[in-house]
Symmetry: C2
Subunit: 231 residues, 2 copies
C-alpha cells in the first residue's frame, strides 16, 4: 500500500477538456484576421501578446479575450470594427458557459480513489471560472478542496502541503503539464504522475528529453489506481 | 480584553484606495463616449452591463475592462474604433499596475493589532490582481493569510472560520461594504466593524436605515484598537 495521504489533480486538460475550447475560439480568431495576415503570423503574434500580458492578466478566459482583442487591433492597425470585437467577447462568454466534460476514465477513477485518499484539485486560472467549472463538472463530491492558485511554482505546492499537514512523501500530484504539475512537485521530493493531453499550450511546453524522469507517465487516468498500488 | 482570536479585513477601500482608481478610468470612458451619448446614460448602461456580466466575469479589473469595451461597442453601435478600444485596454493595464496606497491610519493600526491577534485579509476580486496588490501594499507582513473569494456570502465566511478553527464569537470582520463585509458576518453571530469609504460602487450599496445595527461604525481605521478594547 502506497504511503500517500493526499492525491492532488490539476483540472484543465487533466480532469476535463479545456485546451480544445481555446483551440476552437482561436480558429475563429484566425478567420477574423484572414483579411489582414496569414494564420502563422497571427498565431505567433497572439502568443506573443498572451505571454507579454501574463504577469498582469494571469491565466484564464478573460485574459485570453483581452489578449485576442489587443492582437486584433494591432494586426489590423486599428481597422478591426467594434462589431468584430464584440464577436470576440461573445466567443469568450461562450467559453465561460461551455459544458465541462470529464475526460475518459476520470469519474470512475476518482470514485475509486476517494474511498482511500484525500483528493484535492490544484489549478491555475480565474478563481470564479475555475469554481464554476468545478461545480459544473459534477466531480466536486470526490474532492476535499479546490485550490485555485496564481502560479504553480514549488513554493505554492509547499504552502498547500503545509496547509494540509503532509510531508512530500505523503503527496502525489497528477497532471498534464510537465512544467506546472510535475517538475515543481518532484523538486520538492514528492511523486508526480504525468498524463499528457493531446494539445499543450505552447507556454506550458517543456522538452521532455532534457528532464530527468523522476515521475511516471500514463496514457490515461484509468491506469492511475494500479500505478498507485505499485508506488 | 475582547475575546477575538481573528480580526479579518476587507482589502479594496478598507486597507487601500481602490474605487478612486475605477472612478478615474470611468471618467475617461465617459469622455470617450461623449460624441454618442450623455454621461448619465453611459453611466447607467455601463452599470447595467457590469451587473449582467457579473456571474460570468466576476469582480475585478479584467471584468471591468471587458464590460467597458462591450458597452462602448453597444452605445456607439459598432462605430467605436479599434484604436479607442486599445485605449480602454491601456487604462486597464494602468489600473493593474497602479501603486497601492494604504488608507490613513491603516499601517499603524495593523502593526499594533498584529501583536495580539491573528490578522487575515478576505477579499473578492481577481486572484492574481489581489495577490499582486497585497504584495505591493507592503502590508503583507502583518497578515497570516490572504483569502481571495469569488463572493462574500455567509457560507464563505463560515468556511473561513472553520478553516481557522474559530467560533463566530472569536471573529471580527472590518470592511467598507455593508453588503459584503458586515451583514453576512453579523448573520453568523460574529461582530463586524463598518468603516465607510467616500465612494461605494452601486452594486455594493445597501440602505443603512433598513438594516438593524448589530455592528459598529467608525470614521477611520485609527479608532479600531480602542473599539476592540471596549467590545
Amino acid at each position: 500500500m502506497a504511503p500517500f495521504k493526499i492525491i492532488a489533480f490539476d483540472a484543465d486538460d487533466t480532469l476535463w477538456h479545456n485546451e480544445t475550447l481555446f483551440a476552437s475560439t482561436q480558429e475563429s480568431f484566425y478567420r477574423l484576421l484572414e483579411p489582414y495576415h496569414d494564420r502563422a503570423w497571427v498565431e505567433k503574434r497572439l502568443y506573443k501578446t498572451e505571454t507579454k500580458n501574463l504577469d498582469l492578466f494571469g491565466y484564464g478566459i478573460k485574459a485570453f479575450i483581452l489578449s485576442m482583442i489587443e492582437t486584433a487591433i494591432e494586426l489590423s492597425e486599428g481597422r478591426i470594427t467594434g462589431t468584430e470585437i464584440a464577436q470576440l467577447i461573445e466567443h469568450g462568454k461562450t467559453m465561460l458557459r461551455a459544458p465541462v466534460e470529464p475526460l475518459p476514465h476520470v469519474t470512475e477513477t476518482l470514485k475509486q480513489l476517494a474511498d482511500h485518499y484525500t483528493l484535492l484539485v490544484i489549478t491555475k486560472g480565474d478563481l470564479l471560472d475555475q469554481e464554476a467549472k468545478f461545480a459544473r463538472s459534477g466531480l466536486d463530491p470526490y474532492f476535499q478542496k479546490l485550490h485555485v492558485v496564481s502560479n504553480k511554482e514549488r513554493e505554492v505546492y509547499q504552502t498547500i502541503l503545509d496547509h494540509h499537514g503532509v510531508t512530500p512523501q505523503q503527496f502525489l500530484m497528477v497532471g498534464n503539464s510537465l512544467k506546472s504539475d510535475i517538475l515543481p512537485v518532484t523538486e520538492l521530493g514528492a511523486r508526480a504522475v504525468h498524463i499528457p493531453y493531446h494539445i499543450t499550450w505552447q507556454h506550458e511546453y517543456v522538452d521532455e528529453k532534457t528532464e530527468n524522469r523522476a515521475y511516471n507517465s500514463l496514457a490515461h487516468m484509468g491506469h492511475l489506481p494500479a500505478l498507485i498500488e505499485e508506488l
